[in-house]
């Protein structure tokens, strides 16, 4: 089974904590009816790594994140977070998720109330208000946190979604197109917030390569699927090797390394 090796941007410390990968996906397949969206995907993301999942629209990025978040059960294979099966309570506790950011808010509640709700689920009643205040300050949400979310712009929602995902000090965060609808300044806020958390493992999915320049490693989902199929002997190996990959990708069996991985993370 071809496991992706850590990229040069990831420096394992050799501690026992790093023996268990932050995210591990083995032979993950997800079908919706007769349509196979993910086909035997293998992926390993190390602790503290910043991994980007790249792929065009419909390639299954969001589906993969949902399987990791445990809100979608794989049709076959398995996914785990810090050694806990995806969807288990321990895995959900370790994860911060930012999926479908435009939709997943209570529109009539204010941004602060949405954050408070999330904080109470993750942290409990004690400390929730303090955590919300801190995240509002860090992401400069204060100017609109009191407004009902239904009056937010897309950019405001995106920032609020990131703030919500960071509540409760997750060890791994899943971000689905976190900078969509954000201007440059707001995008910088997002990346800076993640950069301030060096112990956090980040998995970012996006169809835009520019979004992934911050990542230490970028994985092409289509390529990953081809690798999985080749390993199973059900896809022609020749096809997998004939330049179907996006630029900057490695041969099957190796980590798909994006040229952007050479760029340092913005601080």
């Amino acid at each position: 089974m071809p496991a992706l090796v850590p990229s040069a941007g990831w420096a394992p410390s050799g501690t026992a904590r790093n023996v268990v990968p932050a995210v591990e996906v083995c032979g993950l397949t997800r079908r919706f009816g007769s349509r196979t969206v993910l086909d035997r995907i293998d992926l390993t993301v190390g602790v503290r790594e910043r991994a980007g999942i790249w792929g065009p629209n419909g390639s299954g990025k969001t589906t993969l994140l949902r399987c990791l978040a445990g809100t979608l059960t794989p049709s076959a294979g398995r996914a785990s977070v810090l050694g806990h099966l995806s969807g288990s309570r321990a895995a959900r506790h370790a994860l911060g998720v930012c999926l479908a950011q435009e939709r997943a808010f209570y529109g009539r509640l204010s941004g602060r109330d949405n954050l408070l709700f999330a904080a109470r689920l993750r942290i409990g009643p004690v400390g929730a208000a303090g955590a919300v205040a801190a995240i509002c300050e860090e992401l400069a949400l204060g100017s609109f946190a009191g407004m009902p979310v239904e009056r937010y712009s897309s950019g405001m929602r995106a920032r609020l979604a990131l703030g919500r995902a960071l509540l409760g000090h997750p060890e791994v965060i899943l971000l689905d197109e976190p900078t969509r609808s954000l201007d440059d300044a707001a995008s910088q806020l997002v990346w800076a917030a993640l950069a301030r958390r060096p112990d956090l493992t980040v998995v970012v999915a996006s169809p835009r390569r520019a979004d992934l320049t911050w990542c230490s490693r970028v994985v092409d989902l289509a390529r990953l699927a081809a690798q999985g199929q080749a390993a199973q002997g059900q896809a022609a190996q020749g096809q997998a090797a004939q330049g179907q990959a996006a630029p900057g990708q490695a041969a099957p069996g190796q980590a798909a390394q994006h040229p952007a991985a050479r760029h340092p993370a913005p601080r």
Binding site: F32, L72, R89, L99, A100, R103, F105, L121, R122
Partner: protein, 283 residues
């Protein structure tokens, strides 16, 4: 080439079509509604079914008013008192059933359900959390309704108010269990809200909300006796009429112990099903 030739409209092509008549806009809107209501036939059939059920209820009521069985209605202090308590209780079930199914459906559509389920929360907490507010709100409405009915002539001169409260508290877990099962059904079935309406109506019908269950056929009476809503309703009426209500509380306690854990297990199963089928979100 002159500026007119460059920027002006081509004499032969790209002339904007004339503004359509007002009727075509109306037709377009009607066509849209028809297209959106893909299940218009289903809705029509549903309205007919509910209409028929309402007629059936009034047929029973008519029979009760013509030939009042000894006990039941007279013990409650007349048909108004009998029906007031029944309707107040039915209101709890109906409001809660509709509230919880609508809540789940809205959360599926908005994506908030998926977010909540990605948090470290167990199915028991989720189930109780989803069902709790609709039932508390509905209970409050029922109290207001009873107060209004008392002002209009509901017989409460012999009422044991402590009994009324104890019966209500004893009934709450079993009612919440019904709500949790409805929430589970909404996760699994596309039209869970419709099913919620049916269940609420059926419980009201079988539990004797509008007419004494003695009017029902023997096999249906047996089903009625197995419903916690029937026991709760009997207990409420007994407490309001100053009659023994403890037997109802004891039976409700047994229902509570059985139904609430079972409902949570069903809800957890529905969540697993929704995760497998990708139904935590709906468009």
């Amino acid at each position: 080439m002159t500026a007119d030739q460059t920027c002006g409209p081509s004499p032969s092509a790209s002339r904007p079509p004339p503004i359509p008549a007002a009727t075509s806009a109306v037709l377009a809107l009607l066509g849209r509604d028809l297209a959106l209501r893909r299940i218009v036939k289903f809705s029509l059939a549903l309205d007919l079914v509910f209409g028929a059920l309402n007629l059936l209820v009034f047929q029973f009521i008519g029979h009760v008013l013509r030939n009042p069985a000894p006990g039941s209605v007279t013990r409650a202090g007349g048909y108004f008192s009998f029906a007031s308590v029944g309707i107040a209780f039915f209101l709890v079930i109906q409001t809660a059933a509709i509230g919880i199914t609508r809540q789940i459906r809205e959360e599926q559509q908005s994506g908030t359900l998926e977010f909540v389920l990605a948090q470290p929360v167990g199915p028991g907490s989720l189930a109780l959390g989803f069902a709790g507010f609709p039932f508390l709100f509905a209970t409050l409405r029922a109290f207001v309704y009873l107060l209004l009915a008392a002002a209009l002539g509901l017989e409460v001169s012999h009422a044991n108010w402590a009994g009324v409260v104890v019966v209500l508290v004893a009934a709450a877990p079993a009612m919440v269990a019904i709500g949790i099962v409805l929430a589970a059904v909404t996760l699994v079935v596309e039209r869970g809200d419709v099913l919620g309406r049916f269940v609420a109506f059926g419980l009201g019908f079988l539990s004797g909300a509008y007419f004494p269950v003695s009017e029902l056929a023997a096999p249906v009476r047996a089903v009625s006796a197995a419903l916690p809503t029937r026991v709760a309703l009997d207990g409420q009426r007994a407490a309001l009429a100053g009659q023994p209500w403890w037997p109802s509380v004891t039976r409700l306690a047994v229902f509570d112990l059985l139904t609430l854990p079972a409902a949570v297990v069903i809800f957890a199963g529905a969540l697993r099903w929704a995760r497998r089928r990708g139904r935590l979100t709906r468009g």
